[in-house]
């Protein structure tokens, strides 16, 4: 390599960027080449001049105060830091849309019902119901049941929360999670349950049949803490 082609290497050498072996070769060359030695001296001088004389700024006196003020404003708009569990829940929920939500909602309702069942006097062991407990739910089509009361506007507005009536009814029979998990959602949504009492707009949303008492129960048991704190409900009205 002739000296002219070594200039890039010489600058890298001045910057301490050459591997040890290459650096040693350059050093050996410099000991015998006055032209390259002069170039290295010039590059070193340029570096020194740059570092010593380049214009540098210092942030304004109010720079830091302004920044922390902006950060405080930013914090107010940033969502609170999520725990791993809540982030997983949000991402999972966001990944579900439309029809995918139906089994998800049914599953959520199942869990709520299950916990409601646990906190009731009957308990998960299937003990004898007390006189205050509601009778077991009849899982046959409830054609003989008294008509469902008129669905209030609140229920209408929350049609998406309604769960499949048959699933809920079946869940009443179960006391273990694996039994609940084994429940198969019907492919065709039932249409014969108190049909006359359910508004048309709800019927047009397949899979979401109104069980107003159950919704009320769900509204009471919004989260696990509520469920665990709930006193045994001996006057459960959810079963009519």
């Amino acid at each position: 390599m002739i000296c002219e082609d070594m200039q890039e290497e010489l600058v890298a050498y001045c910057d301490g960027e050459l591997p040890e072996e290459d650096g040693a070769q350059i050093a050996a060359h410099l000991s015998t080449c006055s032209a390259c030695s002069r170039d290295v001296a010039q590059y070193t001088r340029v570096n020194t001049l740059l570092m010593e004389q380049v214009e540098r700024i210092s942030p304004s006196p109010d720079f830091a105060a302004t920044f922390w003020q902006r950060l405080e404003q930013e914090k107010r708009t940033l969502p609170a830091q999520e725990s791993r569990l809540s982030r997983w829940w949000r991402e999972w929920r966001e990944s579900l849309t439309g029809w995918q939500m139906m089994p998800a909602l049914a599953g959520a309702a199942s869990i709520l019902v299950f916990f409601g069942y646990i906190v009731s006097d009957r308990g998960p062991t299937g003990g004898q119901p007390t006189g205050n407990n509601p009778p077991p739910v009849n899982t046959s089509p409830p054609v003989k049941r008294p008509p469902t009361p008129e669905v209030p506007a609140l229920v209408r507005e929350k049609a998406g929360l309604f769960v499949n009536y048959r699933v809920i009814a079946d869940l009443e029979k179960f006391s273990r999670f694996d039994e609940i998990a084994a429940v198969q959602l019907p492919e065709e949504p039932p249409t014969s349950i108190a049909e006359n009492d359910i508004p048309r707009d709800l019927l047009e949303k397949p899979g979401f049949f109104a069980n107003y008492p159950m919704l009320q129960k769900m509204e009471e048991l919004k989260n696990l803490e509520t469920v665990l704190d709930a006193p045994p409900d001996g006057n459960d009205k959810s079963h009519g």
């Binding site: 301490g16 960027e17 570096n47 001049l49 380049v54 214009e55 930013e74």
Partner: protein, 205 residues
């Protein structure tokens, strides 16, 4: 010449600070902010040529660090990650279109007769009047040369020489190879050497 030392990300104390911040330690973020504010501000200043915009960008960079705290992974030195954010912000600023580089704050000041006039620097060697004058001229000339360098050359040179990043770290910031950085720094150095030749020849700088 002394070889630049390469350290593993986890051995970088600033990476440790960032990891502590990631775990909720606000004091760690404060320390990083205090340590790197001047470097980021000067990097942005040399990139944009405007002090006010440089300060604005510096604030944006640290806000971004705050926002992205959970995304941070210690794959490189903290400074490499930080300057990558700063570089992207500067590029976006330039590409916005509305940005107009106000070179007056960085370009050399000229007298009415066209002669370059150095900035007012602290007179540290009052007995060496000629050296002080040469230093002022050098400062103005360097500013002018830097402004005329292509953006990648200027960025490679300032990160390497002024902010102390290795070629490898500069390559990560710019998204190019280390070999390309070597070439960029060389060409920038050549431009500086050519531009400062008469000053270096005239004065003992």
């Amino acid at each position: 010449m002394e070889q630049k030392e390469q350290i593993a990300p986890h051995d970088d104390p600033d990476v440790q600070l960032m990891l502590r911040f990631q775990q909720g330690n606000q004091e760690a973020f404060r320390q990083l902010f205090q340590k790197y504010t001047p470097s980021v501000a000067n990097f942005a200043f040399h990139f944009l040529g405007n002090r006010a915009r440089a300060e604005e960008i510096t604030q944006e960079v640290f806000l971004q660090v705050y926002r992205w705290q959970q995304r941070y992974e210690p794959k490189a030195k903290f400074s490499t990650w930080l300057f990558k954010i700063a570089h992207n912000h500067c590029l976006n600023e330039v590409r916005k279109g509305e940005y107009r580089a106000t070179v007056e704050s960085i370009s050399p000041q000229e007298d009415s007769d066209g002669e370059e006039r150095g900035r007012e620097l602290p007179d540290t060697h009052p007995s060496k009047g000629e050296d002080v004058l040469a230093a002022k001229q050098a400062s103005a000339r360097i500013t002018k040369i830097l402004r005329r360098l292509p953006e990648t050359q200027r960025t490679a040179l300032t990160l390497s020489r002024l902010e102390g990043l290795s070629y490898q770290e500069v390559a990560e910031v710019l998204g190019v190879t280390e070999k390309a950085v070597k070439s960029l720094v060389f060409r920038a150095t050549q431009s500086l050497k050519d531009g400062l030749k008469d000053i270096m020849d005239s004065y003992d700088l």
